[in-house]
């Protein structure tokens, strides 16, 4: 792609999110979301591969529908109460519609079906942008809207964690597994949204760090399914020991960073007298843990009988820069002892 066009598109991605961040008016928030969607579409379709084009089409349809629903809800709100402010949503019907539209935008459980298919059709870099940066603007809106009824968010959250766990069980494609793990993590964030928005934000950022390091390490070992992952020890032996730790951190095992948000969320839910819900959420994390464990098993804990196509490619110097991966993966693995500092960063 022409560097000027690439620069324009990346600028558009940043601009859209910034406009949504800075807006207090629904029309501007909608404009930011539209700029975001329109900027990533050429990036997604740039390889002209049938899979990429199909993924782009599905993404476009879902995002355009969600944006139109969002604008419809805010115009209805303006007709009903005369308000365009994001913070002052008084009528319950538009608020519910907006919550559902944003759920479609970020891919929460009953509205998640576009997410695994779209991620499957993209390359890993665009997939990384899609599953981290593109979630930021809708999430910022979701944090600002006062929730209309408590049950809607709880149902969305618990369905997302369950579906994210069940859906990933039978997958062999890494990008689909990543999509389902994204759905499950978003479910955790939505569960605690109305009780403690700062905790939601903390979870979002920890998820970003973990997903970033996982995507980058898959990109370095050039793996898109479990089979490739099994022979990647010959390509990057150090990564073979790092990736299982990142995966278990995503799964939320105690000495790793991924445990921090789950711990705080379970504590908050118990504080709100929602212990049964907290139990179901914690059990659904086991489903996700199963497929993370299967990935790490195939990669590190066993020696596969696959034939290698080249002899020991790790001798060749790698062309990719690994500094971002080093920073992100060390944050993924050992941020838990800094838990009070991390949590204090996000309290407001």
């Amino acid at each position: 792609m022409n560097p000027y066009i690439l620069a324009t598109l990346l600028f558009g991605l940043g601009l859209g999110t910034t406009i949504t961040f800075a807006s207090s008016h629904w029309l501007f928030a909608w404009m930011g979301l539209e700029i975001n969607t329109l900027a990533i579409i050429p990036l997604m379709a740039q390889s002209h591969h049938p899979r990429a084009v199909e993924a782009t089409t599905k993404y476009f349809l879902a995002q355009a529908t969600a944006a139109a629903m969002l604008l419809f809800a805010s115009i209805s709100n303006a007709w009903l109460s005369g308000q365009w402010d994001i913070h002052q949503m008084s009528h319950p019907l538009p608020t519910t519609l907006i919550t559902l539209a944003l759920a479609l935008k970020i891919g929460l459980a009953p509205l998640h079906t576009w997410m695994p298919e779209v991620l499957q059709g993209l390359d890993l870099t665009t997939g990384l942008i899609l599953s981290t940066w593109q979630k930021l603007a809708p999430f910022c809106l979701l944090l600002q809207v006062q929730p209309a009824n408590a049950t809607l968010l709880l149902v969305l959250g618990i369905t997302s964690t369950l579906v994210g766990g069940w859906g990933g069980l039978n997958q062999t494609q890494l990008r689909k597994i990543l999509a389902y793990s994204s759905i499950a993590h978003l479910g955790w964030m939505i569960l605690v949204l109305q009780f403690s928005p700062s905790l939601t934000f903390l979870t979002l950022l920890v998820y970003f760090i973990m997903t970033f390091s996982l995507f980058i390490s898959f990109k370095i070992s050039n793996a898109t399914n479990i089979n490739t992952l099994a022979t990647s020890w010959a390509k990057a032996p150090a990564l073979t020991s790092i990736i299982p730790l990142i995966l278990l951190s995503l799964g939320g095992l105690p000495p790793l960073t991924g445990f921090l948000p789950k711990w705080l969320i379970l504590q908050e839910l118990t504080k709100q007298d929602l212990a049964p819900l907290a139990t179901v959420a914690a059990l659904s994390a086991l489903l996700s843990l199963f497929f993370y464990l299967r990935l790490s098993y195939a990669m590190t804990l066993t020696m596969t009988p696959n034939n290698l196509t080249a002899t020991l490619p790790w001798r060749l110097p790698s062309l990719q820069t690994t500094l971002p991966l080093a920073i992100a993966s060390s944050a993924t693995i050992c941020l838990l002892p800094l838990a009070p500092a991390t949590a204090a960063l996000f309290t407001w």
Binding site: V53, T57, F60, A68, W79, E117, V118, Q171, K176
Partner: protein, 98 residues
């Protein structure tokens, strides 16, 4: 709920139902999206007219500009799918399922 509110709401819902349930051609999905955006345009224009607000007078045009961009992106994707899949039927978009 005023008659105007009812009118644009039902138009929007018709477009949304068409998009959600009539899944044969990509072109018809794009037309439904365009219909939804036009109903939003009418809603915004009527709101501005009712309030006689000069602040808001440009907002329907902004909406129209953005929806035109969106429609052009959709048509570009229509051409791209026609070139890669050979047809614009939504049924043929099945490479990514498993």
């Amino acid at each position: 709920m005023t008659p105007a509110h009812f009118a644009f709401s039902s138009t929007f819902m018709l477009g949304l139902a068409g998009l959600a349930f009539h899944r044969t051609h990509l072109l018809s999905a794009l037309l439904c999206l365009e219909g939804m955006m036009l109903s939003l345009f009418i809603a915004l224009a009527l709101w501005t007219l009712q309030l006689d607000s000069t602040n808001f007078a440009s907002s329907p045009m902004i909406l129209l500009a953005f929806s035109a961009c969106e429609a052009s992106a959709g048509l570009a994707l229509l051409v791209a799918t026609a070139r890669t899949h050979g047809t614009d039927r939504l049924q043929s978009l099945n490479l990514l399922q498993c």
